[in-house]
């Protein structure tokens, strides 16, 4: 979590290459600065790490299995392993980050927590750790997402969180993030904002990536056990803000033997006007505190994204990924709603695993890329599909 230093770590000035930084109004400066000054010291502290890893083990259920999916491997013609983040408590990788951040918030003496959520996975993961720690929790969620991820809304409420609807813009993740930032501006002293992905002002992208890096930390020894080498040939992850991808890539950034592949959501097609494929459509810009690739008009207004998957329905990506894109270290692909939904059904039928629609985007690219028979490919199965049942039912096709 703290001992790796790669070319892809954030620089002391908060930038990854040309991207990142801390573009926030003065009202947020004291909060973000407090975090920046303290996070590395807290993360490096032995007792913090002990609490973090203990909760990941006993509460989240880590390590998550690295499962060789034989029937899928046969279909694709490669050795496909699934990193089973879907088996984590609350059903997605998001909880790795919320466990870390709530422990950190307590050390900073904060008593209230706010969060934004798209698919509701991060909201549920936040509501969960708040229940665990007895902290007050408010989650902002776009009203469109509230209607398409209803089970997660109810889960948050059962866990004792207040869910507030964001009604601006497309009423999705970007708008929920705006509202959470406004809440933080209005409550600067006792509140910590648990951002759900590797986005936001420095140090959030770095901090969240470090908490998620447990994914590739486990992959190393798990591959050693099953493949007798601690690295795969290829890692595939879906890309919303980029936290599950950051975690799955983290320990391999400097390992040129490992190909890194991200998959964005192209919605109804990259050029359809209904897409969230940021690297295909975006230009450098500034949103939610960092300079990154951003879908926007020539006038610098942020374009409303679209994806069937609420967790990928965001007009930007984390600055780390903008840097991976610019440097060529990772390759960036995208798949449509339909391709993702088909991959969702395929995995369900072949392996008995219903993936989250976000994760199904990563699976869908397997059908489109060439692999060699012996190639060891790890797909980060970031979450399970329980929350998506309504979307899958409405889509039909099974």
């Amino acid at each position: 979590m703290i001992d790796q230093n790669t070319d892809y770590n954030v620089a002391p000035n908060g930038f990854y290459g040309h991207f990142g930084g801390s573009y926030i109004p003065e009202m947020l400066y004291p909060n973000v600065e407090e975090l920046r000054q303290n996070y590395m010291e807290i993360l490096s502290d032995k007792s913090f790490q002990d609490s973090f890893y203990k909760l990941l083990k006993d509460y989240v259920g880590r390590p998550t299995p690295l499962y060789l999916a034989e029937r899928l491997s046969e279909r694709i013609g490669a050795k496909i392993y699934l990193k089973r983040e879907d088996l984590s408590h609350t059903g997605a990788h998001k909880i790795n980050n919320t466990i870390g951040q709530i422990l950190l918030a307590r050390r900073l003496g904060k008593t209230r927590i706010i969060a934004e959520t798209g698919a509701g996975q991060h909201g549920v993961a936040t509501a969960t750790v708040c229940a665990l720690m007895g902290m007050e929790c408010t989650v902002y969620m776009g009203s469109l997402d509230i209607s398409r991820q209803r089970p997660n809304v109810e889960r948050m409420k059962i866990l004792g969180a207040e869910v507030r609807a964001a009604e601006s813009g497309n009423k999705t993740l970007k708008d929920a993030t705006n509202e959470a930032m406004r809440h933080w501006i209005n409550n600067p002293v006792d509140t910590h904002y648990i951002i759900g992905s590797v986005v936001g002002p420095h140090p959030y992208p770095d901090m969240v990536a470090r908490f998620q890096s447990v994914i590739s930390e486990e992959m190393k020894w798990q591959l050693m056990e099953s493949e007798d080498r601690d690295y795969p040939d290829t890692i595939v992850a879906c890309l919303g803000g980029g936290s599950n991808a950051a975690g799955a890539f983290y320990h391999y950034f400097d390992d040129a033997r490992v190909k890194l592949i991200t998959v964005e959501a192209s919605g109804k097609g990259v050029d359809s006007g209904y897409s969230a494929a940021t690297t295909a459509l975006g230009k450098p810009g500034i949103l939610h505190g960092s300079k990154t690739l951003l879908m926007q008009t020539d006038d610098g207004q942020v374009v409303e994204p679209y994806s069937i998957s609420a967790g990928l329905d965001y007009p930007g990506i984390g600055p780390l990924h903008a840097h991976l894109h610019e440097s060529g270290r990772a390759s960036f692909h995208n798949v449509t709603d339909n391709e993702a939904m088909q991959a969702c059904i395929t995995l369900s039928r072949l392996e008995g695993i219903i993936p989250a629609i976000e994760s199904a985007h990563a699976l869908a690219i397997l059908e489109k890329l060439e692999f060699s028979k012996e190639e060891v490919v790890v797909v980060n199965l970031s979450g399970r599909g329980d929350k998506d049942l309504e979307t899958i039912i409405n889509w039909g096709g099974y």
């Binding site: 109004p25 003065e26 009202m27 930032m181 501006i185 600067p188 230009k283 610098g300 207004q301």
Partner: protein, 258 residues
């Protein structure tokens, strides 16, 4: 910039600066509103550059931003609208907006056209102090644009002093930890904060903004500062107006108490 410096020469007179979103209520109202503000006796004008994601703004300005964008406002049009009335506007004009539209337009080109349009200063809330210092300070100076920084009740004394050093005009003192929006009254905590900053002997004049709405709050705030800034309350005047010119003049007069 000179206009902006001159404005603070007589520091016994309390200044009123008024913010509105360009392109609101109608696309081409910008110049008309500026003229009426001047006619009513406003001392400065802040022309807002609408942005799709105004995170530091409350519902009123979010809404005026959105309507202005739906009306088709762009940064390019704003610069043209301001340039068009510049000969008739004697009071300082400040442009205020989030960084991204400016970044897309190009900072150099933006500064050049601001100067050509007679703009004296810029408020870019999400432009970090450090980045201004490293990348833009000399550019702003070349085009005689004052960069106006915000401070809040949470801003540390050391940082206020640094901001004071970097400022070449006034400091925008945000009245409370909050997004923009019209509220009622000023609390004793706020007054204490005004007094604390006022007692720091800063070289820069202070203007208090956020939550100022009428003659009463203007008078109270300006006991502790060189002036005050009104935004959301003025947007509400525009929203409810049946005669922009008359309503604006009457409102500005009522705030100043003339």
């Amino acid at each position: 910039m000179n206009k902006l410096l001159n404005a603070f020469e007589d520091r016994s007179e309390k200044l009123l600066s008024i913010y509105f979103s360009a392109g609101y209520p109608e696309l081409d109202d910008t110049g008309k509103i500026m003229m009426a503000l001047q006619a009513g006796g406003a001392d400065m004008i802040e022309v807002g550059i609408p942005f799709s994601d105004p995170v530091a703004d409350g519902p009123t300005i979010q809404n005026s931003n959105k309507i202005a964008l739906d009306n088709g406002i762009t940064l390019k049009k704003i610069l043209a609208q301001v340039a068009e009335v510049q000969k008739k506007i004697r009071i300082p004009v400040i442009l205020m907006g989030y960084l991204n539209p400016i970044y897309q337009y190009g900072m150099e080109k933006f500064c050049l056209y601001c100067q050509k349009a007679g703009v004296s200063g810029l408020i870019i809330p999400d432009l970090p102090v450090q980045e201004y210092k490293n990348e833009y300070e000399s550019l702003f100076q070349k085009h005689h644009l004052a960069n106006i920084f915000l401070i809040t009740p949470q801003t540390s004394e050391a940082r206020i002093r640094e901001i004071d050093r970097l400022s070449n005009s006034f400091i925008y003192m945000v009245s409370s930890a909050s997004t923009t929006g019209a509220r009622k009254g000023l609390s004793t905590d706020q007054i204490d904060y005004f007094k604390r900053v006022g007692g720091m002997n800063l070289k820069s004049p202070l203007m208090i903004g956020f939550g100022i709405s009428d003659h009463q709050s203007f008078t109270l705030a300006t006991k502790y500062a060189d002036g005050a800034i009104i935004g959301s309350a003025f947007i509400n005047v525009l929203k409810n107006s049946d005669n922009l010119e008359e309503n604006i003049v009457a409102y500005v007069r009522s705030v100043k108490g003339n």
